[in-house]
C-alpha cells in the first residue's frame, strides 16, 4: 500500500481513489428526509395536535365532552319525558333496572312493572317489583309533545315505555313524580353552557384588561393591579352571594340564568388578567416586537397580531381548567338557593332537592345528578391538562 499519496496523475487519467459521479450538492447534509420534513416544517397547530393526541385521557375526555355538548342540541329528543311532566302515580319511585331476558327467553330491553303500595307505619311510598308484568322499551317512538328548538312541534323520543303507560323511570322520580333521567338530560343544557358563557365573559375581560395593563404599563398597570388585588382579597362565595342578591326577584328565570353566568365570569377574570399581564410584560421586550414597532405597527396590531398569538394556546388551556370551577360554583350557588331558580333546571338545581339528610337516607337516587357533575369536571381537568402540555413548546412529548 502506498502510504504517502503521490502527485496527481497526468491530465485525463483517472484519480486513484473513488469519486462519486453524482453532481455535487452543497446542501446535502442539511437536506431533510420526508419524515423529518414533516416534523420540522409542521405548523404550530399541527405540532400541538400531535402532542395532544399523545395524551390519551385528554383525547377521550375531549370526545366525551363533545358528545355531551352535542347532546344539548337534542335534549328534547334524548329525554324520555318532558322536563316538568309529573307522573302523580309514581312519586319517589326508585330507579328500575333494564333487563334483557324474561323467563329464560330473550325479549329485548324491558323493565318489570311495579305496584304502588303505601307503608302505613312509615307512610313511605313503596314500589315492589312485579315480576309478571313486562314493559318493553320502545325506540324512536312518540311521547310527550315538545317544540323542537322552539320551531316546530314534535313528539319524537329516543325511547319510551309501552303505549299509554308511563311505567319506565330508569333513574327514578322525584318528589313531584318527575323523571330524573329526563331532568338530568335537560340539566346538561344549562350546566354545560353556564361554564362556557362564564368563561367567555371572563376571557374577554381578562384578555382586554390584562392586555392593556401589560402593554401600556405605567399608571394603567398600577390601577389594574390594585383592582385585581382588591377583588382577589375578598372571598368568592360572599361575593357571589352579594351579587346574586342584587338581581331583582321579579326577573324571569332565563335572565337570572344569564345574570348568574355573568357574575361567575365577572369574578373569575382576575386570574386570567394576571396571567396575560405577566406574559405580555415579558413578551413585549422581545426583539420581534421592537422590529414591529420600528416598522410602524400600531399598538393594536402588535397586541393582536404578534403578542396574543404567542400565548393564546396557553390561555385557552388554562381557561379550560377553570370551567369546572364555574360549574361547581353554580352548583354551590344553586344549592344555597341563590343560583338558578326552577323552571330553569341545572344539575345544581337538581342537587338542591337533595340537600336534606333524609333524602340521602330514603331516596338516594335523587343525588344521581352528581354523577354527571363529577364526570364533566374530571373530563375538563384531563382535557385542560392535555391542552396545556400540548401548548407548551418546551415540553416535548416524544
Amino acid at each position: 500500500m502506498d502510504a504517502i499519496p503521490g502527485p496527481l496523475p497526468p491530465d485525463g487519467a483517472p484519480i486513484a481513489h473513488y469519486i462519486s459521479p453524482k453532481p455535487f450538492d452543497p446542501k446535502a447534509i442539511e437536506k431533510l428526509s420526508p419524515i423529518q420534513e414533516r416534523v420540522y416544517l409542521a405548523s404550530q397547530l399541527r405540532l400541538m395536535w400531535w402532542k395532544f393526541k399523545k395524551h390519551r385521557a385528554a383525547v377521550y375526555s375531549g370526545f366525551f365532552l363533545l358528545i355531551l355538548y352535542t347532546s344539548i342540541l337534542i335534549s328534547e329528543f334524548l329525554a324520555p319525558y318532558n322536563l316538568s311532566h309529573r307522573h302523580v302515580d309514581n312519586i319517589y319511585m326508585p330507579p328500575q333496572g333494564i333487563h334483557l331476558f324474561h323467563d329464560g327467553k330473550f325479549v329485548g330491553p324491558f323493565v318489570y312493572g311495579t305496584r304502588y303500595h303505601l307503608d302505613m307505619d312509615t307512610l313511605r311510598r313503596e314500589y315492589p317489583v312485579d315480576r309478571s308484568v313486562v314493559h318493553k322499551l320502545r325506540f324512536f317512538c312518540e311521547g310527550d309533545p315538545y317544540r323542537f328548538w322552539g320551531l316546530f312541534e314534535a313528539r319524537f323520543h329516543l325511547f319510551c315505555g309501552p303505549k299509554g303507560n308511563d311505567a319506565v323511570f330508569l333513574l327514578g322520580t322525584d318528589r313531584l313524580g318527575r323523571d330524573m333521567l329526563s331532568r338530568i338530560i335537560y340539566g346538561t343544557r344549562i350546566s354545560l353552557t353556564i361554564g362556557l358563557i362564564g368563561i367567555t365573559v371572563s376571557f374577554l375581560l381578562g384578555i382586554s384588561i390584562g392586555g392593556l395593563a401589560g402593554y401600556y404599563g405605567g399608571w394603567i398597570d398600577i390601577v389594574v393591579q390594585r383592582i385585581i388585588e382588591v377583588l382577589q382579597s375578598l372571598p368568592s362565595i360572599p361575593l357571589w352571594l352579594a351579587l346574586a342578591a342584587i338581581m331583582p326577584v321579579d326577573w324571569s328565570p332565563i335572565i337570572v340564568y344569564f345574570g348568574i353566568t355573568i357574575i361567575l365570569g365577572l369574578i373569575d377574570w382576575t386570574g386570567l388578567a394576571r396571567a396575560v399581564r405577566s406574559k405580555l410584560l415579558s413578551l413585549r421586550e422581545e426583539d420581534y416586537v421592537m422590529a414591529a414597532e420600528l416598522m410602524g405597527a400600531s399598538p393594536r396590531r402588535i397586541i393582536f397580531r404578534h403578542l396574543i398569538p404567542g400565548f393564546l394556546s396557553h390561555l385557552i388551556a388554562s381557561a379550560t381548567i377553570t370551567i369546572p370551577s364555574m360549574i361547581l360554583g353554580e352548583t354551590a350557588l344553586s344549592f344555597l338557593g341563590l343560583g338558578l331558580r326552577p323552571p330553569v333546571t341545572s344539575w345544581g338545581v337538581l342537587l338542591n332537592e337533595a340537600q336534606n339528610i333524609n333524602v340521602v337516607a330514603l331516596y338516594p337516587w335523587l343525588i344521581l345528578p352528581v354523577v354527571p357533575v363529577i364526570l364533566v369536571i374530571l373530563a375538563f381537568n384531563f382535557l385542560g391538562d392535555g391542552l396545556r402540555d400540548a401548548a407548551d413548546p418546551y415540553h416535548t412529548a416524544w
Partner: protein, 332 residues
Amino acid sequence: MIRYIAFRLLAAVPTLILISALVFFIIQLPPGNYFDTYVAELQAQGETVDPNKIEYLKHEYGFDKPVVEQYAIWVWDMLHGDFGYSFEYEMPVTQVVGSRLYMTILVSMVTIIFTWLIAFPIGIYSATHQYSWSDYGLTFLGLLGLAIPNFLLALILMYLANIWFGTSIGHLMDAKYLGQPMSWDKFKSIAEHLVIPVVVIGTSGTAGMIRRLRANLLDELQKQYVVTARAKGVPPLRALLKYPLRMSLNFFIADIGGILPSVISGAEVVAIVLSLETTGPLLIRALQSQDMYLAGSFLMFLATLTIIGVLISDIALALLDPRIRLQVRQTR
C-alpha cells in the same frame, strides 16, 4: 429589608381603602335594608311592629343619612376598634364573631394539617414516580376529591357516619355539651365530629396541592444540579430532600396569603350543610338578611387578613430564597 416592608405597608393603605369602599358598596347593593326585611317578615307572620321604634332604630344607626356619610362613619368607627352592631343577634359584631372564632380556627387548623399530611407524601411520590401506575392512580384520586361537590360529600359522609359509628348528625359536638365547660367527654365528642368536616374540606384542597407540588418538584428534578448531585453519588433521598424539595416549596409559602383568611372564614357551604358553629354560615346568613355591619365588618376583616397574609408570604419568600431577595434589592 425594612424599607421594603415599610413600602409594602404603605402600598396596602390605598388597597384597603378601595376594599372598604367595595365592601360597603356590595352590602348596600341589594334593595332595602335590614329593618325593611325585618318589618316585612314580621308582617308576613301577622305581627305588628311599632313604626316609631323602627324609625328610632333607623335614626340611631344612621340609615337616614346619605350613603357617603354612612360609609365615613363606618370606616371611622372601625379605625377606632368599633366594628358596629349586629341587628340580628343584638350584640356587638366583635362578640358575635368572637364567640365562634375559636371553633373555626380549630376546624381550619386541623384541616390544613390534614391536607399537608396527605398532600406532601403523595405529591413527592407522584413526582419521583412520574407516569407510573401509582402516579396516575393517586393523581386521579386527588382529582376525584376536587370533582365531587363538597356539600354532597358532606351529606353522604354525615349519613354514613351516623349509620356506622352513631355520630350525631351535624354540629361540632353532641347537643348536650353545648355551652358546657371543656371536659374529657366534650373533647372526645368534638374530636369525633371534627372528622367529617376535616375530610370534606380537606379533599378539595389536597388535589390542588398534590398537583402543584408534583409539577414544581418535577421542574426542579430536571435541573442540572440534581443530575450533578446524583452523578457524584449523593444518596437519592438526600438528593431529593436537600435542595429540590426545598425549592419546590416556594409556592407553598406563597400560599400563606390565601390560607390566613380561609382559616377564619372556614368553608362556608360545607359548614352550612353540617351546621357547624363556625363563622362561615354566620357571614352567609348576615349577607342574606342584610345584617350590614356584621357582614361588612367581617368581610373587611377577611380582606385585611388576605393582605397581611400576602405580605407575610412575600417577606418569608424573600427571607428564604436568596434569588428573590436579590431581585428586591435590585429593583429598589
